[in-house]
Amino acid sequence: MDLDSLYQEIILDHYRNPHHAGLRDPFESEVHHVNPTCGDEITLRVHLDDGVVRDVSYDAEGCSISQAAASVMADLVIDKPLTDALAKHEAFLELMQSRGTIEPDEDVLEDGIAFAGVSKFPARVKCALLSWMAFKDAASTALATDAPKEDA
């Protein structure tokens, strides 16, 4: 079993020093997501402004994979237009469901490419997706608030 492909150094680095962790103001929406199987939890806030993800802040409890994924996700989406952020989510989701068959695009996923190995461990895919699911959920709620500006 190729453990090192799961626990890439980049993942362990993010795990030990998660980026953008902690809950911050301002935010338009806050969600709480749980992985019922294992109990991993994340509280996540999104601050949208004019269709751009201005901030993602979170308080997460979970394994190295889920913690590192939250950190990488925040890196990837903060200060990006929401459409780009959601496209990255799609790319990450596709990577996770690939069972190791996809070569990830570093231009799109940056440090996220380190998770390619996770896709070969089906039981861990949920860990890697928890924060992304929370982000998507929070963003769509925030979007409702942000909507007038976006239309403008």
Partner: protein, 422 residues
């Protein structure tokens, strides 16, 4: 008697070899003539083997286990859900709930509707409509629901030739009707009901449609979208699968609104001592360790049936049923309960022999190695409707041969002789 009926499954001999029990010898070294498949079906070797392989090589608990065996067991269990979803043409795999049998599936719907707040809840003054040909498992849950909630239970009656009497449908299905629950195929009369048409009428008044497909799933192509059901139940042991497992399919939008059924492991999102939140469907409705090896066996069974082809199985059943009905018509003193036209019925045929009680019929047939069912077949009201307390029922399946039907016909004549009613 002829053995080359039109519509028989090609390779019937080979199919029979799939079922080890068909080689059983009974008392007096008689071969088994199993004509009780509507009660429970026999299991092909491949179903048994898949469960054995699971237990010997992949056994672990699901959902919770992180290790390799756990991943294998989980994969096997969840892919069984995919198989069921395909089998009933469900729009989404998350609409497939594993229960312990069809009865639990029907009770699940009745109980969650009793507990539901909001528009789905069944309460005082609401009406639930069933039919007089239901299996007890599609009667008692609705009696309990309506009694507990002060709602009203009504039902479609039956015509003399064993069909639903739809003449008062406008009186039964009204704005007050919240649920219409009915069987697709009767386990006693064999009648195939016009479920899609009734579902359409029920939906016009906003009622939910619950279809008991326990007898349909073994022999008809089940397409939940075509039939227009909101919920549909069937049971593993009648589709060549194991006991201990049943299926409830429900429209996701409805499942998402329903409260939990049983509480416990797997069905939760988070638990604190004060209160809990619940998982999304289907897990919300699957408390505790599910029937894992049974799901593996069921998936193998459904694949087995799909490979032979449900349309081909249905034709086979019709051919045999036609042969049986023809033979019964030729025996004086025998009366069939239910439709006589094979295009309107499934492969269960209930009949009476004048002057011989069904138990005694079954006993005589059993002494010749022929297994049929005698009694009320969990359909007392339908028996009462036809003025009988019980009946004898012969039911074929994909492994049944015309010569087995012939053996039954001869056995009936021998029964009449034994009891001197001929």
């Amino acid at each position: 008697m002829t053995h080359d009926l039109d519509g028989l499954l090609p390779g019937l001999d080979v199919i029979r070899k799939d079922f080890p029990i068909l080689e059983r010898r009974l008392a007096d070294d008689l071969p088994l003539v199993y004509l009780d498949s509507a009660n429970t079906s026999q299991k092909p070797q491949v179903v048994i083997d898949s469960m054995v392989d699971h237990l010997e090589r992949h056994n672990a608990n699901v959902a919770r286990a992180m290790h390799q065996l756990g991943a294998e067991a989980n994969e096997a269990f969840e892919s069984a859900r995919d198989t069921v979803a395909r089998f009933v043409n469900a729009p989404s795999r998350d609409e497939v709930i594993f229960t312990k049998n069809a009865s639990e599936a029907l009770n699940l719907v009745a109980n969650t509707l009793a507990w539901a707040d909001g528009p789905l809840g069944v309460g005082e003054g609401d009406r639930v409509v069933i039919t007089e040909m239901e299996h007890h498992s599609n009667i008692v849950p609705w009696q309990l629901l309506t009694q507990r909630k002060g709602a009203e239970l009504r039902w479609f009656g039956l015509t003399d030739d064993g069909h639903l009497d739809l003449s008062n449908i406008d009186e039964l299905i009204t704005e007050r009707t919240k649920v219409v629950a009915l069987t697709w195929v009767s386990n006693m009369l064999g009648t195939i009901n016009p479920v899609a048409e009734i579902a359409r009428r029920a939906h016009e008044v906003g009622a939910l449609v619950v279809v008991d497909a326990s007898q349909a799933a073994p022999q008809l192509r089940v397409d939940v979208q075509a039939v227009g059901a909101d919920f549909l139940a069937f049971t593993g042991h009648k589709v060549t699968g194991p006991t201990g497992i049943g299926v409830l399919w429900g429209r996701h939008e409805l499942l998402a609104q329903l409260p939990p059924f049983l509480g416990g492991g797997e069905m939760i999102e988070t638990v604190a001592m004060e209160r809990s939140t619940y998982a999304a469907p289907p897990h919300r409705f699957e408390a505790g360790t599910p029937p894992i090896a049974e799901a593996v066996g069921l998936a193998t069974a459904l694949d087995y049936l799909a490979e032979i082809g449900l349309d081909a199985i249905h034709r086979h059943e019709q051919a045999l049923t036609g042969h049986l009905l023809g033979g019964l018509a030729d025996i004086p003193g025998v009366t069939v309960l239910g439709p006589l036209d094979t295009t309107e019925r499934g492969g269960a045929v209930a009949f009476e022999i004048e002057g011989v009680h069904p138990h005694d019929v079954a006993q005589l047939l059993d002494s010749r190695g022929i297994a049929v069912r005698a009694g009320h077949h969990c359909a007392k009201p339908a028996h009462k409707r036809f003025g009988v307390q019980s009946s004898t029922r012969a039911s074929s399946y994909l492994y049944t041969t015309p010569s087995e039907v012939d053996a039954l016909l001869e056995g009936i004549i021998a029964t009449q002789d034994y009891f001197k009613v001929r």
